[in-house]
């Protein structure tokens, strides 16, 4: 009942269970067989080299390969070893895979899951390896989920895999070592349904990915001050649970968005814009965004920390909107 798994183990279990269920599934990417982090452990042994493919360093081609394979009836998982590699395949993602169905008038079905490993900053990854590129996917209209816990990782990954459209699954670097309760059987967390990860009545914090556990900690710390903080996790960023978001925001009338993507045109901007449009009347204070600065992440720890959103800033923002 309360089996604990790490985030990467939860992903691994989802891969195993789904590939077992559906022989049309294949997985490909760089060093899948080598299994650097653990999420692809045992796949080669169980499913063989025809379904578990190590690719050359050719991101654009292996994304296009996934599109073609999907159109021809397979269900590929295309794994990006690090998040910023999506840029190398950007045309194949946003101008091909994502548009194929509409452009063909519904003829093509493109059931591909992109697993984007280790997104976001983590201690010393520096400028090119610390991005959290999901806003690009959202703007391009690609279905996107970001799992904040081991439980969500398994459930959202399974939903992503079963979806008949391209879906990007983001696994934040700062989440990969998390542990949590994960049921053994396969289960799917529906897209477009956010979750109140911590109830509260004074202010709503909308948090994504590794910032969800952080936000919960900050929320807990406010209990002593008599400020009741609700933490809402969208889980799937596109489709976004707009009704759930608006309801959560309207309930408190105060909102802080806590998101680790660049500020300008980031996810927090979309949430703020949505609320300014839909629940304007219910708002009691300006909507605050606590995000990454619009800057590449510098290597050195103090600089890195200064550019990232952090619990102190979240706390300060909560005080401002409640004050």
């Amino acid at each position: 009942m309360s089996r604990q798994l790490r985030y990467l183990q939860a992903m691994n279990e989802a891969y195993h269970q789904e590939m077992e269920r559906d022989s049309a599934m294949i997985i490909l990417g760089e060093d899948i067989r080598g299994n650097l982090r653990g999420e692809t452990r045992g796949l080669l042994a169980k499913f063989g080299p025809e379904r578990v493919l190590d690719t050359p360093i050719s991101e654009a081609a292996f994304v296009g390969f996934g599109t073609g394979a999907a159109m021809a009836g397979l269900r590929p998982i295309v794994q990006f070893q690090i998040a910023s590699l999506v840029y190398l395949a950007f045309d194949q993602l946003v101008n091909n895979a994502a548009k194929m169905r509409l452009m063909m008038g519904g003829q093509a079905t493109v059931p591909v899951t992109y697993t984007v490993m280790a997104s976001g900053a983590r201690n010393g990854l520096a400028g090119q390896h610390a991005d959290n590129p999901y806003p690009y996917f959202l703007h391009a209209g690609i279905k996107t989920v970001c799992a904040a816990s081991a439980y969500d990782a398994k459930g959202l990954l399974i939903s992503a895999i079963r979806e008949d459209d391209p879906v990007a699954f983001f696994a934040p670097a700062a989440c990969l070592a998390l542990r949590g309760e994960v049921p053994e059987e396969a289960y799917a967390i529906p897209f477009g349904v956010g979750e109140i990860k911590r109830p509260g009545s004074d202010v709503t914090v909308v948090a994504v990915g590794h910032l969800v556990p952080e936000a919960i900690q900050v929320a807990d710390s406010f209990a002593t001050e008599g400020i009741s903080v609700q933490v809402w996790d969208p889980r799937s960023l596109l489709p976004l649970d707009k009704d759930g978001l608006c309801a959560a925001a309207a309930r408190t009338g105060r909102v802080v968005i806590y998101d680790d993507t660049n500020r300008t045109c980031g996810f927090a901007a979309e949430v703020a814009a949505l609320l300014a449009e839909r629940v304007f009347g219910a708002l009691k204070a300006p909507i605050k965004r606590i995000t990454r600065a619009d800057a590449p992440i510098a290597f050195s720890a103090p600089l890195e920390k200064a550019a990232l959103p952090g619990p102190e800033r979240l706390g300060a923002a909560i005080r401002v909107v409640c004050g």
Binding site: S58, A69, L102, Q107, A108
Partner: protein, 335 residues
């Protein structure tokens, strides 16, 4: 210059080339009468490549095409009425009017789409071929691209993928000498087909104005692919008799000399093939005329059908974006 293919195939080669030629001429007319919107790239002059390649494929083989795709689609058996309805933006078009010239597809016929991005179809052909291979099917994917494509990173990555996994893909380079105004010799120092060696696959150049030569070369490559021996690269040397796109005629560009165009027009594959059919005793004087007339009828009817096809309704603009939608997805542009 003997004819080595059976008579029905030889005739079909002629018919499809002529159908492409006249189709493209209809397209130009419809662009000029403003019935076709946007940008169309005609393949006039290159018909022998499309037909030679596609007739060497089986119906259940797949092609990926390019911005200059009309010829490929017709050669693979595409329905010209559905194509024209698409070009007119109608609901009865292949893509229900969603795609237009650069995205025509017929998944049932193995036409996995024209594509507006140079070489974008190449990796998709690899994935498709992999699906065939994995299912134990002996089907093949042929991927068209232009001379401009061979300098693109995707060309390189896709050919390498196909080679290392011995995928049943035939890469067909339509070398018409130019990428828009850029001569291939100014951007590539080698004969294009020789690049096959960099991936450990066979490559050959073939006269793209000789439909039978293209057909034979493709046959060899297809047989290799079906037998599990992997991909090949075929460079078809051809020429477009017209501008890069319909609009070019009004643009006063001077990247090609009139002499060059005239010299290539003299090598026009369509009359040349008709002549060979005659010389080989396969065609009598009015066989071509009969065939041409049938082509005209088919196109006249197709244009009429296409014109009668209804316009898509504006309230379906957000259909077909996803296989599965959710509340609020896709988002409208207004609330």
């Amino acid at each position: 210059m003997t004819i080595t293919v059976p008579k029905p195939l030889a005739e079909e080669m002629y018919r499809r080339m002529q159908l492409i030629r006249r189709f493209e001429e209809w397209v130009v007319k419809l662009v000029e009468s403003n019935e076709i919107a946007g940008v169309t790239h005609e393949s006039v002059g290159q018909e022998a490549v499309a037909v030679g390649v596609c007739l060497a494929l089986r119906d259940d083989d797949v092609i990926t095409s390019t911005h200059r795709g009309h010829g490929h689609i017709i050669a693979k058996g595409g329905n010209v009425a559905h194509m024209l309805a698409e070009l007119l933006g109608r609901e009865g078009g292949y893509n229900k009017g969603r795609g237009g010239s650069m995205h025509i597809a017929d998944m049932a016929l193995g036409i996995f789409g024209a594509n507006g991005i140079v070489t974008a179809g190449c990796p998709m052909a690899c994935g498709t071929a992999y699906a065939f291979k994995r299912r134990g099917q002996d089907r093949v994917a042929a991927s068209f691209f232009g001379d401009g494509g061979v300098n693109h990173g995707l060309f390189h990555e896709a050919l390498n993928l196909a080679a290392i996994w011995a995928l049943p893909v035939v890469f067909v380079c339509e070398n018409n000498g130019y990428a828009i105004t850029t001569p291939i010799a100014s951007v590539t120092k080698v004969e294009l087909y020789t690049r096959a060696a960099a991936y450990g696959m066979p490559g050959e150049a073939v006269d793209g104005m000789d439909v039978q030569a293209v057909y034979e070369a493709t046959r060899r490559a297809v047989e290799r692919a079906r037998a599990g021996a992997g991909p090949s690269l075929i460079e078809c040397r051809t020429y477009r008799f017209v501008g890069h796109y319909t609009a070019e005629r009004f643009m006063k560009l001077d990247y090609r000399s009139d002499e060059e165009i005239v010299a290539w027009r003299k090598r026009d594959a369509i009359p040349a093939w008709s002549k060979r059919l005659g010389e080989a005793g396969l065609w009598r004087a009015d066989d071509q005329r009969r065939c041409d007339a049938a082509v005209e009828r088919e196109l006249d009817q197709a244009v009429a059908i296409a014109r009668q096809s209804p316009w898509p309704s504006a309230d379906t603009a957000l259909d077909h974006v996803y296989a599965r939608t959710y509340p609020g997805l896709p988002a409208q542009g207004f609330e």
